[in-house]
Amino acid sequence: MPNEREGSSAVMNRTVVERKSDRELVVKRTFNAPAHIVFEAWSKPELFKQWWVPKSVGMTLVSCDMDIRTGGAYRLVFSHPAFDQPMAFFGTYREVTPHKRIVWANEESDEGAVTTVTFEENDGKTLVTFHELYPTTAALEDALAGSAEGLPEQFAQLDELLAGRS
């Protein structure tokens, strides 16, 4: 379809990232669709898989289990060429209010974040606010390293660098 992206304006689609405090990350974006559609894309595993892992990250979402209801569990398993073993991210949904709000607690470690996503519909468009609250500043600092890039890879690079120096 040549007019695939018709109706979605570049300005409206800006992603805003803010470090709200030492322990909080907030990401906002407005989507040109009603809340029930955006919520569906976020809450159905087969749809979620299509957008959660950017291709540039080089990771593959091997499996994606989401029991999306209050008290339900989720488990995402990723693989990356730099890891020997796949990496699992898991936790529990603390609150699921269809078309409005999802809250989940990450449980891989004590340093896991509590994430709240809200969907606010206005005039056929939906403002999505993704809010992560970490237990400590250090956990927030390490978050991206741990999820998107992966520490093993970084430490391997650091090793190479240090080996070259000695």
């Binding site: 695939e4 992206r5 109706g7 979605s8 689609n13 992603t15 990232v17 803010e18 470090r19 990350l25 990401v27 974006r29 989507f31 040109n32 669709a33 009603p34 559609i37 955006v38 569906e40 894309a41 976020w42 749809l47 299509q50 957008w51 959660w52 892992v53 950017p54 291709k55 540039s56 990250v57 999505v128 993704f130 250090a138 600092e141 390490d142 991206l144 390293a145 998107a148 890039e149 520490l151 093993p152 970084q154 430490f155 391997a156 690079q157 650091l158 090793d159 660098l161 240090l162 080996a163 120096r165 000695s166």
Partner: protein, 150 residues
């Protein structure tokens, strides 16, 4: 496989030095851009006195004289260490009257900006993909609704 990195982590298991290592680790991500900066950082962190100075400055600012006394060395010797830390952006100094005061450097602010930028790239990519999917679902819903009406 991760021996050297592990060793480095063990050397500075706590305090501000560890914080700086976290920053270095983060910087490794941007290695292509920051190769020269990394060289300066590793050179600066390769000395036990300089790691001690960073830890000290993590607690409070100090003059070069204070630091020289605390680490039992000459003023000239300490000036040299501080200058290496300063070149790496790990320490900044300011001269007021006859006293040069040292504090932790501007690196931290840069790292914070880089951290945001990295998240912005991740989330932009993620949400661009979600945007496309949502457009597709919306059109599908419209088409389904029209088909039902007929």
């Amino acid at each position: 496989m991760f021996g050297a990195a592990k060793e480095l982590r063990a050397i500075c298991a706590r305090g501000v030095v560890c914080l700086q290592i976290a920053h270095v680790r983060f910087t490794v991500n941007h290695m292509v851009h920051y190769q020269a900066r990394l060289d300066a950082t590793f050179a600066a962190l390769s000395d036990v006195t300089r790691r001690g100075v960073l830890e000290q400055l993590g607690g409070s600012d100090a003059s070069i004289t204070d630091l020289a006394q605390r680490f039992h060395m000459t003023l000239t010797g300490m000036k040299k260490h501080v200058s290496i830390l300063e070149q790496a952006g790990l320490v900044s100094t300011e001269k007021v009257g006859r006293v040069r005061t040292c504090k932790l450097g501007p690196r931290e602010l840069e790292e914070a900006a880089a951290w945001i930028e990295q998240h912005r790239q991740l989330w932009s990519a993620r949400f661009d993909a979600l945007d496309e999917l949502v457009e597709h679902l919306k059109r599908k819903e419209k088409a389904d609704a029209q088909r039902k009406r007929r």
